[in-house]
């Protein structure tokens, strides 16, 4: 049986990786991910897992070293944040193209400039199209659970793709939360030993990271897209198995009081918990509010979304990043596009919130619902709470 502990979430994410008995960690520290890097290093140094910790000189090297290790058949973890993730960007699509099941813990943080170390989602959004599976956690328990699930999904023979687990910087990483930490036996039963598809070995020659001419590049990209689209089936299976073993349910889109909802908020990440309280408060006032929390960002759960919005009149989609000069936030444009073909669909409004660590309180979410109830905002997308 798992043990209920009070633990800082960044530390807990490293502990979860240790429960997965990673073979290699290649990590470069950056705020607010540093505690993950430091704790992974401690775990290796203390001999708690039989693993190597590669001290790299940059994030570009961190993921490159992680790829090399993964290609030899090792179970590999890395972690980063913000500018570090942007510096890794070049390597991300190669990791997925080479089908290396690396797990990356991301402490989401705003990107420069102006320079800012606090939380939003502007670091992960530029990675959206790199072919990584993306989980978003609401709280510390989900960070721990998703980290363990991530290895199982990534290494599944029908998936073989890297997975990133997104936890909001500071709001999650630096919070001490009550977490049920699974015990080693439970994790061992859930997560089998990694059996790689192919490894770099002199006795069994294989070329990885090959050249593709125009005659085959497009076929390779199509194959990669099919792989990540099909991974949803395995993710759902893994989540079902998790629920059976650990009793905690995971869904691509988690609905909160949406059955009879008139207006529903959409969140991704830790603000979902604040939004839950706002929904409760609004319900007390007679407002039929609801909430949809997106847990799986890639592959995007189109079917689940279409089902979840049935009967809802207005969706108030919140984004923690802006697509500058584009249609609004990335979550908003995704959701609007996903519902375009639906004969009956809700009105959809977009709030860009919580940029660079700006606090968003219960009352703010309540106000967003009240405004959204009109079905239309003053602009196609609104930077909520911005002065001027």
């Amino acid at each position: 049986m798992g043990k209920r502990v009070g633990m800082e979430v960044a530390i807990a994410s490293a502990e979860a990786a240790a429960l997965c008995k990673f073979d290699v960690a290649a990590v470069y520290p950056i705020t607010p991910q540093s505690h993950v890097a430091e704790h992974l290093s401690d775990i290796v140094n203390d001999g708690r897992v039989d693993a190597s910790f590669i001290t790299v000189e940059s994030e570009h090297s961190a993921l490159s070293a992680a790829m090399g290790a993964s290609a030899t058949g090792a179970r590999v973890v890395t972690a980063t944040s913000s500018q570090g993730l942007l510096y890794m960007h070049e390597v991300l699509p190669i990791t997925s193209a080479m089908r290396l099941p690396i797990v990356m813990l991301i402490a989401n943080r705003a990107i420069s400039g102006p320079i800012n170390i606090w939380n939003d989602h502007s670091d992960i959004m530029p990675q959206r199209d790199t072919g990584w599976i993306s989980f978003f956690a609401d709280n510390g328990q989900e960070v721990v659970d998703m980290t363990i699930q991530a290895f199982k999904v990534a290494e599944h023979r029908e998936v073989m793709l890297p997975v990133n687990v997104n936890m909001d910087g500071f709001q999650l990483t630096h919070m001490v939360e009550p977490i049920i930490m699974p015990d080693q036996g439970e994790v061992d039963r859930f997560l089998p030993e990694y059996v790689p598809y192919a490894t770099l070995h002199p006795d069994r020659p294989v070329s990885m990271g090959t050249l593709a001419m125009p005659e085959i590049y497009a076929e390779a990209q199509k194959a990669k897209n099919v792989a990540i689209v099909n991974s949803k089936k395995i993710i759902l299976e893994v989540w079902k198995e998790w629920e059976k073993l650990f009793g905690r349910r995971y869904e691509p889109i988690q609905a909160y009081r949406t059955k009879d909802a008139d207006v529903a908020l959409v969140t991704m990440g830790s603000m979902g918990e604040t939004a839950e309280i706002a929904v409760e408060e609004l319900r007390k006032q007679g407002v039929k509010a609801g909430l949809l929390k997106i847990k799986l960002w890639r592959p995007f759960p189109f079917a689940e979304l279409r089902k979840a919005v049935q009967g809802i009149r207005v969706l108030a989609v919140t984004d923690r990043a802006c697509s500058f000069g584009g249609p609004g936030g990335p979550v908003f444009s995704e959701i609007r596009s996903a519902l375009y073909e639906e004969p009956v669909r809700p009105a959809i409004v977009n709030y860009i919130i919580g940029l660079g660590g700006r606090d968003v309180q219960v009352e703010d979410f309540m106000e967003m619902v009240r405004q959204a109830a009109r079905g239309k905002l003053s602009e196609p997308y609104v930077f909520y709470g911005v002065r001027g």
Binding site: A97, A198, S207, M208, L211, I216, E219, A220, A227
Partner: protein
């Protein structure tokens, strides 16, 4: 048996585009890129091997008499050998006039 140069359909692409047959890149003849070919004047050649050392394709080889020649299946015609040959024994000549 002639093997296919690349998979016909996306379904045939190996996961990660991995290639399990060693040495397959030899079948890719980069010589077709060439516009000019190196021509050795063995009267000027002092057999120093600079062309052999500098060739980025590794396609220059030494013959039985100690002179050098390029394997035209792979020589891209970059001209580095001619540039580096200090006795001036290598000339780049057009493939086609």
């Amino acid at each position: 048996m002639t093997e296919k140069k690349w998979p016909e359909t996306w379904q045939e692409v190996n996961p990660g585009c991995m290639v399990f047959r060693p040495g397959s890149s030899r079948e890719y003849h980069t010589g077709s890129w060439r516009a000019k070919r190196p021509l050795w004047d063995n009267a000027k050649c002092i057999k120093c091997g600079v062309c052999y050392i500098y060739c980025p394709e590794g396609c220059v080889t030494e013959d039985a008499d100690g002179f050098f020649e390029a394997n035209l299946d792979y020589c891209k015609g970059c001209g580095i050998c001619a540039h580096e040959c200090w006795p001036g024994a290598i000339k780049m000549v057009n493939e086609e006039e």
